[in-house]
């Protein structure tokens, strides 16, 4: 007993779902009815009610890059394509550096990214904040237009924040800690005094856990006017809050805190009548010293009083001392040279004082070579960070001329990494010369590898033609020449960058 097929698609579907054995229809007829319905639905596809298209993006007259450059940046932007080798580099950090170099070069040439690649760039900027400042110059107004259509890209939005100031006030009063920190940081950018006053007014009422985070938001635009609030924070019961306050105070050489430290340091270190430096370390670490950040307990292997002296010097403003070269040339009371130097070096690193850093870095390097304590090595790197760019370049060049072995021992890699990029000609020459001298010798392979990796992304790309010459010499030295592989990769990367910049010129 079968029924004929009647009714619309829902009936046909219902019968098919339970099975014709139960619904009583004929299987073939049901299938044919299904086909007829399906075809009717496909041929007369229902139009979707569509909102009006968004307003068009602003017209952009800037010229797009050429096809070769477009193809290359398309490869560079395929950041997620794991396993696919893009260009000569393999790790994500290097790929991002190449991408950043492409973007900067295109922006410098006034050319635009092909429009269809802008979404990929916005995606990349979402995860890699370093790229964000590079987006608008190459993507033009399209970036802001797209950013307005997708929440994940809102960081690139050029539209003013949707909330009015009234709502903003509510964020400060009622928002979560993260929202309030963002609010305070944003206010600090265009109204530093306003931000400080807002925090000062609320300080005592703030939950202790929040104070440290909020105080950190004052770091940009720090000035002497922030001193009183930071002094108040030094009396806070929470160690985290006091540490934030001390960090910020270290950058204010005229604060009350700095003056107290200056008084303590001047009492300990005095230039005597004979021109010799007399050192009298503190007798004790009292409450007021601890309040100003001096740690009472020395690390293992250091005497209490020497440690207190080092801490005092490290937190005292450097301007209280005579000129560094003159001061450091003086004779020092026996046994105190090391402590004095370390204290001053820490001060130079914290205050990012180029002149003092330059004056101290050589003697500290010698100390590191002598004893090589890990904390000394860290201090040395911090000193390098404080050196002016020219000074870094000169030092890197000199270290490389002395030989790669000694240079890596004192961290020439770190110095080179800090040098401005692309490397100035003197540094570039010294690096190529060092590679040429050392690559043929045994036991230097790992040093060559490290140097090549740095050089690949930092040498000026127009030096690319010089590396093949170097390679030929290495190959002539025999196939087993250590570092050959590293230099080959350096050559490929440089060639890639060279071509890349040429396409954009």
């Amino acid at each position: 007993m079968t029924r004929s097929i009647q009714g619309g698609w829902p009936d046909v579907l219902a019968s098919a779902l339970v099975g014709t054995a139960r619904s009583g229809e004929q299987a073939d007829a049901l299938l044919e009815a299904a086909a007829a319905h399906a075809l009717r639905r496909r041929a007369g596809v229902a139009l979707v009610p569509a909102a009006r298209p968004p307003a068009a993006a602003p017209v952009d007259d800037a010229r797009t890059v050429g096809p070769a450059a477009a193809a290359r940046v398309g490869d560079l932007l395929a950041l997620d394509s794991t396993g696919r080798e893009v260009g000569p580099v393999r790790d994500m950090a290097s790929r991002l550096e190449l991408l950043a170099e492409w973007l900067a070069a295109a922006a410098a040439a006034g050319r635009r990214l092909p429009t269809e690649l802008v979404p990929a760039l916005l995606d990349a900027g979402r995860r890699h904040r370093g790229l964000r400042v590079l987006i608008a110059p190459v993507a033009g107004p399209l970036a802001g237009w797209l950013a307005g259509q997708r929440a994940e890209w809102s960081y690139a939005s050029t539209a003013p924040p949707a909330q009015s100031t009234v709502d903003d006030g509510q964020v400060w009063e009622l928002g979560s800690l993260a929202q309030r920190v963002v609010y305070l940081a944003r206010l600090r950018r265009h109204d530093p005094d306003g931000a400080r006053e807002l925090l000062r007014a609320a300080w005592d009422a703030e939950p202790p856990d929040d104070r440290a985070e909020l105080l950190k938001a004052l770091a940009p635009g720090l000035s002497g006017d922030d001193g009183p609030l930071l002094e108040r924070a030094l009396d806070d019961r929470r160690r985290q809050v006091r540490e934030v306050a001390l960090d910020l105070l270290a950058r204010l050489p005229a604060s009350a805190h700095a003056q107290r430290m200056a008084v303590r340091a001047s009492a300990c270190v005095v230039v005597g009548g004979t021109g010799r430096i007399d050192v009298t370390p503190p007798e004790q670490c009292d409450r007021s010293m601890r309040r100003d950040g001096i740690a009472p307990r020395p690390p293992a292997g250091t005497g209490e009083r020497a440690w207190w002296l080092e801490e005092t010097l490290a937190r005292a403003p450097l301007h209280i001392w005579p000129q560094p070269h003159e001061f450091l040339a003086r004779e020092v009371r026996e046994g105190w040279v090391g402590t004095l130097r370390r204290g001053l070096a820490r001060a130079a690193a914290i205050q990012r004082h180029g002149t003092w850093a330059a004056a101290l870095v050589d003697s500290l390097t010698a100390d590191v070579l002598d004893r090589g304590r890990p904390e000394d090595r860290l201090l040395l790197e911090a000193l390098y960070d404080a050196l002016p760019a020219d000074d870094l370049a000169i030092r890197a060049t000199a270290a490389l001329r002395r030989g790669l072995a000694g240079a890596t021992a004192v961290g020439v890699d770190h110095v080179l990494a800090l040098c401005p990029r692309p490397w100035p000609p003197a540094v570039a020459d010294a690096v190529l010369a060092a590679l040429g001298d050392q690559a043929g010798q045994r036991g230097t392979g790992w040093r060559i590898a490290g140097l090549c990796e740095l050089a690949a992304l930092r040498l000026p790309a127009d030096l690319a033609p010089r590396v093949p010459v170097l390679l030929d010499r290495l190959r002539a030295a025999g196939p087993a020449s250590p570092g050959l592989v590293a230099v080959e990769r350096l050559a490929r990367t440089l060639r890639f960058r060279h071509d890349m910049l040429e396409e954009l010129a």
Binding site: D75, E85, E116, D499
Partner: protein, 441 residues
């Protein structure tokens, strides 16, 4: 030029070789008996330099290097040099002339074979072929009869239960159809496994399969065109000679879409063409097994003046003859409004109910987001896209294609010409004509 390259390493190698160093001799030659040809001698790692030459009209290439990539880096490099104007005109050496002459022979052999097919041929070879074809038709008929019974079983038991069966259930029937030499039908059955969470789609596809099986059972009573379509969809082969025997269609064929898909361990490349003058759609299919690369040389955004021969009642074509080297597209004529494109599709569907994809070129379309999640936040799981002409209606973008951000960015909110594949679930955008260039999506 570089889009001819089989992969990225080959592109890089070609760029490196395109400099001056490696080439000891090179030239462009053309004459009455010689189509325009670029040739060169490239010093490789061996003693003898490699001989590389490219016929610019097709392009067809040959290189004496042992590389298994086609085209090899030498071929690409010499094309790059030629494009850069670094190759002078020069008389062709003997080896270039020999190569072109041998190619001429091969082409004439193929044409002769096509002629034989057209005129019906003669002798025992054809009779034997017919006998084999009859044997095969019988086997296919048995296979499709079994399919018909199997289809009825599925709806008799109810799809609600069938959806719980694993892939094996569908693959077993597909394997029997392969044995029955009906690969087209087999593929349709295997695809059913992908619709298990969508009973409406599953039922529609079962119904269409029933239509195919029933149609094949009474093939002789069908109109000729429909019978040819049924044969093709079942998977009966059409020989290249048969195709080339059809009357060729000459036009400027624009490459508006290229799409690669993995089907059964085989990469399938679909290249969609549209005739600038005839407005006719055409499809060039090519295949690559694991580890192989496509040998197609059709590049998106170019057009070629060529004769195409169509498979019977199908979009698929063979390129019979090229009249000029491919050139960049300067305009995309013949794009249709959304309603006109849908009408065209409806007609195509009436002629071929098993049509899975249909090329569309839509004029003045803008991508718009519709159906955001209930709270209005964009980017939610229910976010969908459509293409609209700005009149309040649109056609859906295939959700499987993902959010079409590249299209959105290229259009920048302005109406653009979009080419794509229309499928049962919506349009898959493949390219967009914006700012006077064709952008791959």
């Amino acid at each position: 030029m570089l889009s001819l390259a089989p992969d990225a390493p080959a592109q890089r190698a070609a760029r490196a070789l395109a400099g001056d160093k490696a080439w000891c001799e090179a030239g462009v030659s053309a004459g009455d008996d010689l189509p325009p040809t670029v040739w060169g001698l490239c010093q490789g790692s061996g003693v003898q330099p490699y001989r590389t030459c490219v016929d610019l009209t097709e392009p067809v290439y040959r290189c004496s290097c042992p590389s298994r990539k086609f085209p090899c880096k030498h071929t690409l490099a010499i094309l790059l040099r030629w494009a850069g104007g670094a190759i002078p005109e020069a008389p062709a050496p003997a080896w270039v002339r020999e190569w072109q002459a041998s190619r001429g022979d091969r082409v004439s052999r193929a044409v002769a074979a096509a002629d034989r097919a057209r005129t019906g041929g003669e002798g025992t070879g054809r009779a034997a072929g017919e006998k084999a074809a009859v044997r095969r038709a019988g086997r296919v008929a048995l296979g499709l009869a079994e399919l018909d019974r199997w289809l009825a079983d599925q709806v008799r038991g109810g799809l609600a239960g069938a959806a719980k069966l694993g892939y094996d259930h569908w693959d077993a029937m597909a394997a029997r159809l392969i044995d029955a030499q009906a690969p087209g039908a087999a593929r349709l059955v295997r695809n059913l496994g992908g619709y298990l969470d969508d009973p409406e789609r599953l039922l529609a596809e079962l119904g269409l399969l029933r239509l195919l099986a029933a149609g094949f059972a009474r093939l002789d009573s069908l109109p000729d065109e429909l019978a040819a379509t049924v044969r093709l969809r079942v998977g009966l082969p059409v020989s290249a000679e048969e195709v080339l025997a059809a009357a060729p269609v000459r036009d400027r064929w624009q490459v508006l879409g290229v799409r690669d898909e993995l089907e059964d361990n085989l990469m399938v490349r679909r290249v969609w063409l549209r005739g600038a003058a005839t407005g006719r759609a055409a499809l060039v299919l090519s295949f690559a097994g694991p580890g192989q690369v496509f040998v197609t040389d059709l590049v998106l955004g170019t057009e070629l003046d060529a004769d195409l021969c169509f498979y019977p009642e199908h979009l698929r074509v063979q390129i019979a003859r090229r009249h000029a080297p491919a050139a960049p597209i300067t305009a995309v004529p013949g794009a249709l409004s959304v309603p006109a494109a849908m009408r065209e599709y409806a007609q195509a569907l009436a002629a071929d109910p098993w049509l899975e994809r249909w090329p569309m070129v839509l004029a003045a379309a803008t991508p718009v987001r519709v159906g955001a999640s209930p709270d209005g936040a964009p980017g939610g799981p229910r976010e969908r896209w459509c293409l609209t002409a700005g009149d309040g209606h649109g056609i859906p973008v295939d959700p499987a294609a993902g959010a079409p951000w590249r299209l959105v960015a290229a259009a920048a909110g302005r109406p653009v010409t979009v080419a794509g594949e229309w499928t049962a679930t919506g349009l898959r955008p493949l390219s967009v004509w914006a700012d006077n260039r064709l952008v791959r999506l």
